[in-house]
């Protein structure tokens, strides 16, 4: 073979590689990027079906209609029945402003755009689709209303869920907005510096404060060699940084349980130092910090600082939930649920079922374990401590008559003068039916004083309603 031929074959190989790379890139695009690309609001295809498919109904777990559509002169009108109540769950769907919430994430189902090619073909033969599928939520409308009422006038978020299967019973974020009037008030809503469009429950990042001690305690129990009794003088000096207890109270001799009950910073600061950054981070990541929580709404990841060689003061601050650590309320409700559910953290979900217009179930969300945070024994031990927090310690305001409640309060210092008030917990402690996370943004009060009573009322209402 002459040199020209050899070179020609090389060129042919280069050209073939180029064409094969087209095939590879195209497949890559289709598998990994297409879904996200297609859901862009600029994709007019999303709106084409809307002209003739009646958008599906969204109903709560008892079948109460929350959002529905009707046709008037070939134009579709979407009605959101409960003003602001579902602004962050259901969201909205308008041509001008796009889609948000479940209206966005379940757009395909609501418009009955099936992925299943065989069903697609049969539907093409049987005629054009006229009605979309309906969504049945895990949300309980009465609980959602009550939860919203208890958060009225405040800033913050509450997530109420079933610790055993991950169903979200109620989820409220304040301030909120009314999707049915947002067309007229768009500018006002978007420019509001309190950001009512932000779903604080899944995307609000807050300093956790003392509720994080549950995670530190888990880590301490997992590492048996850790020192677990301390002499608390009300403050401790760590390399020049003075870590103080609330109001400088000296707790005296404390063990792990006592430390959690009184929320002793001195003890947990030292536990953090003893554990070291890696072990604490490891436990935190089992609790889904720094991890993407798969959910039907947009979420932000909770943050455990990614840093090698944290300074000792920083590490001590992180162990008590201060410093650079940030969490979402949804994540914290899942933390409480994990303890309630023997250390198994369930995947949270809002939509129980997708049903077609004829009432046939098309898709059911089944409970899924997302992460195993600790052994059953350790979860049990933490649960006992949390029961005593409510019985004897900072969480007394969460006590419910005749029901054993487990919980943990948090008062999180932040960049502003006013602390965030936290409470996470579950009830009944022996056979948990509900788990909750409450955060009051810049409440300027302790979690025990302001967040615990709200959590108590909602849990009591939930136990009553869900019975």
């Amino acid at each position: 073979m002459d040199k020209f031929s050899r070179r020609m074959i090389k060129v042919l190989i280069v050209y073939s590689t180029l064409f094969i790379s087209l095939v590879v890139y195209l497949s890559y695009f289709e598998i990994f990027q297409a879904e996200q690309v297609v859901n862009n609001n600029y994709n007019k295809r999303q709106w084409v079906n809307e002209e003739y498919v009646l958008r599906g109904i969204i109903a709560d777990r008892n079948g109460k209609t929350l959002a529905s559509s009707r046709k008037i002169d070939n134009k579709q009108i979407r009605t959101y029945k409960f003003d602001k109540l579902y602004s962050h769950i259901i969201g909205y769907s308008f041509k001008e402003y796009g889609k948000a919430g479940l209206e966005s994430s379940y757009n395909k189902e609501l418009l009955n755009n099936n992925e299943n090619p065989i069903r697609e073909i049969t539907e093409k033969i049987t005629g054009p689709k006229e009605e979309g599928n309906n969504l049945i939520l895990a949300i309980d409308h009465d609980l959602q209303s009550y939860t919203q009422k208890r958060l009225k006038g405040k800033k913050g978020a509450i997530v109420l869920m079933n610790p055993k299967n991950g169903e979200i019973y109620a989820m409220v974020s304040k301030p909120d907005f009314d999707p049915s009037t947002m067309k007229d008030k768009w500018a006002e809503i978007t420019e509001d510096k309190n950001s009512p469009l932000l779903n604080r429950a899944t995307m609000g990042l807050y300093t956790p404060g003392s509720i994080f001690k549950i995670i530190t305690a888990t880590s301490a129990l997992e590492n048996e060699y850790i020192e677990k009794t301390f002499q608390c003088e009300g403050s401790i000096n760590i390399n020049g940084y003075v870590l103080k207890d609330y109001k400088g109270t000296a707790h005296g001799k404390v063990d792990l349980k006592k430390a959690l009950i009184v929320s002793c910073n001195v003890a947990f600061g030292q536990i953090g130092l003893d554990l070291g950054e890696d072990k604490l981070k490891n436990t935190a990541e089992k609790y889904m910090l720094n991890k993407i929580i798969p959910f039907e709404l947009l979420t932000k990841n909770s943050v455990f600082p990614h840093k090698r060689n944290m300074s000792r003061p920083e590490l001590a601050a992180t162990a008590i939930g201060q410093g650079k650590i940030l969490v979402t309320p949804l994540n914290m409700a899942m933390v409480a649920s994990a303890i309630a559910n023997d250390g198994k953290m369930m995947k949270p979900f809002l939509v129980k079922e997708v049903i077609n217009p004829k009432g046939r179930t098309i898709h059911t969300n089944l409970p899924q374990t997302l992460s195993t945070v600790s052994s059953k024994n350790i979860a049990e031990a933490i649960k006992e401590m949390m029961i005593d927090v409510v019985k004897l310690g900072t969480g007394k305001n969460a006590r419910i008559k005749n029901v054993k409640v487990a919980g943990k309060t948090g008062t999180a210092e932040n960049d502003t003068e006013k602390e965030h008030a936290w409470f996470i917990g579950f009830a009944p402690a022996d056979d948990p039916k509900v788990a909750i996370a409450v955060v009051l943004e810049n409440e300027g009060s302790t979690g025990g004083k302001s967040a615990a009573p709200i959590a108590r009322d909602i849990m009591a209402a939930a136990l009553n309603i869900l019975k």
């Binding site: 020609m8 074959i9 060129v11 073939s16 064409f19 095939v23 289709e30 297409a34 879904e35």
Partner: protein, 408 residues
């Protein structure tokens, strides 16, 4: 019977089958297409059958390249018809003219001797066409590359493509014709410079790569190749900083979503279409390729992906790949030096053009506005592609070796 119809010995039957199925789908799905579509369908199939038959009888060379291309034209016409029936019908007419051009170029090229001696003629003709484009040219889509004569408009660059390949081939048959390799290089960059002035970046790229391909295979002074590659990199970087529309192409490639309202509109619409199709496509007539601007020309591939699926798109890519393989095989077997180089040149030209537009619309490389050969709507493009194919057909046959006779 069925066995015979599906036999690989009669591959045009497969094209026939595809056409019948696709046109039937269109017929049933779109109301109001009725008789029109029937005539078109019969016409299209008739042209394909007759031309393939004629080729079998007349040419002793390769019988696959023509088949591949008629398949591609069929896919193109089906898509164009679905997007706009009147364009579709016009494209069938152009297809007919294309076939005539194919046989015309085939016959003429086969019977003229001494094509390799006309180096200067090719250059002078090309430059004349370039100049007339600049003087009489009309600006369409940002590029000045069309000439209107009466009611007809055509792109001189399509003719120049063929002249350019002839020029390169004739030079490498006998390099003494140019006194110095740098004069040769000067002429080549003259071509590319003219295209740059016309803002026809896609075609400039195609010319450049055809040049590099031929240079790589036939140039004896290997360092020239590196100089040229280095030069291209420098020109590329410089034009990014100095020429606005080059920069626009690059930034809308890196992140079109930021410019979704304006500069990035076309490419994002194309991605929506491809994404919506999935692997199997929405089915012909059931997607919305009409949302993409220029869908019948530059973005025809996106429309194919939307309605025939990624698998349909991959099919088109693979057809081009087989074409490339056949083209290189023709060049490898050809003993006549001039036609060897012409075969490489034509194959590289069509193949590379297909690559840059497909890669462009799927956002693998920055988008340059060229047509997808044989598939896109457009008379100039289709006719000149068939002309190139006719020449390639000649190159696939045994050619009487004049040179040897003279030498011996």
């Amino acid at each position: 019977m069925i066995k015979k119809v599906l036999s690989y010995k009669m591959p045009q039957n497969l094209i026939f089958l595809v056409n019948v199925m696709a046109l039937l789908l269109l017929y049933f799905y779109k109301d109001g297409f009725d008789k029109f579509i029937l005539t078109s369908g019969i016409l299209l199939t008739f042209i394909i059958y007759i031309s393939n038959f004629m080729l079998l009888k007349t040419s002793s060379g390769d019988h696959y390249i023509f088949l591949i291309m008629t398949m591609l034209v069929s896919i193109g016409i089906i898509m164009i018809y679905r997007i706009n029936p009147s364009y579709g019908f016009r494209q069938i007419t152009w297809f007919g003219i294309g076939i005539i051009t194919f046989f015309l170029f085939y016959t003429v090229t086969k019977n003229i001797r001494g094509l390799e001696k006309w180096t200067k003629v090719y250059v002078v003709l090309s430059m004349a066409l370039f100049l007339s484009t600049l003087i009489f040219g009309v600006r369409i889509k940002g590029a000045i590359n069309w000439i209107k004569i009466g009611g007809l408009s055509f792109q001189p660059a399509e003719i120049i493509k063929i002249l350019f390949v002839f020029f390169l081939a004739s030079y490498y048959v006998d390099r003494e014709k140019m006194n110095h390799p740098y004069i040769f290089l000067g002429v080549v960059y003259g071509y590319i410079g003219f295209l740059f002035i016309q803002r026809d970046l896609g075609t400039a790229m195609i010319f450049y790569f055809v040049f590099i391909t031929i240079l790589y295979v036939f140039e004896e002074e290997r360092k020239l190749i590196y100089y040229n590659l280095g030069g291209a990199v420098i020109i590329g970087v410089l034009s990014y900083f100095l020429v606005n529309h080059v920069r626009v192409r690059v930034i809308t490639w890196i992140d079109p979503w930021r410019y979704i309202d304006n500069k990035g509109y076309q490419i994002t619409q194309s991605l929506f279409a491809i994404g919506s199709g999935g692997f199997f496509g929405t089915g012909i007539g059931l997607g919305h390729p009409e949302f993409i601007p220029e869908v019948h020309t530059d973005f025809i591939f996106s429309a194919i992906c939307e309605e025939m699926g990624i698998f349909g798109g991959i099919g088109v890519i693979l057809l081009f790949l087989i074409f490339l393989y056949r083209g290189f095989k023709i060049a490898l077997n050809q003993q006549h030096q001039f036609f060897k180089i012409v075969a490489i040149g034509m194959t590289a030209m069509l193949g590379f053009q297909a690559f840059i537009i497909i890669a462009g619309v799927i956002k693998m490389i920055p988008l340059t506005g060229v047509t997808l050969p044989f598939v896109s709507y457009g008379g100039s493009s289709l006719v000149s592609s068939f002309a190139a194919l006719g020449i390639l057909q000649v190159a696939s046959e045994d050619i009487y070796l004049e040179q040897e006779e003279e030498n011996g």
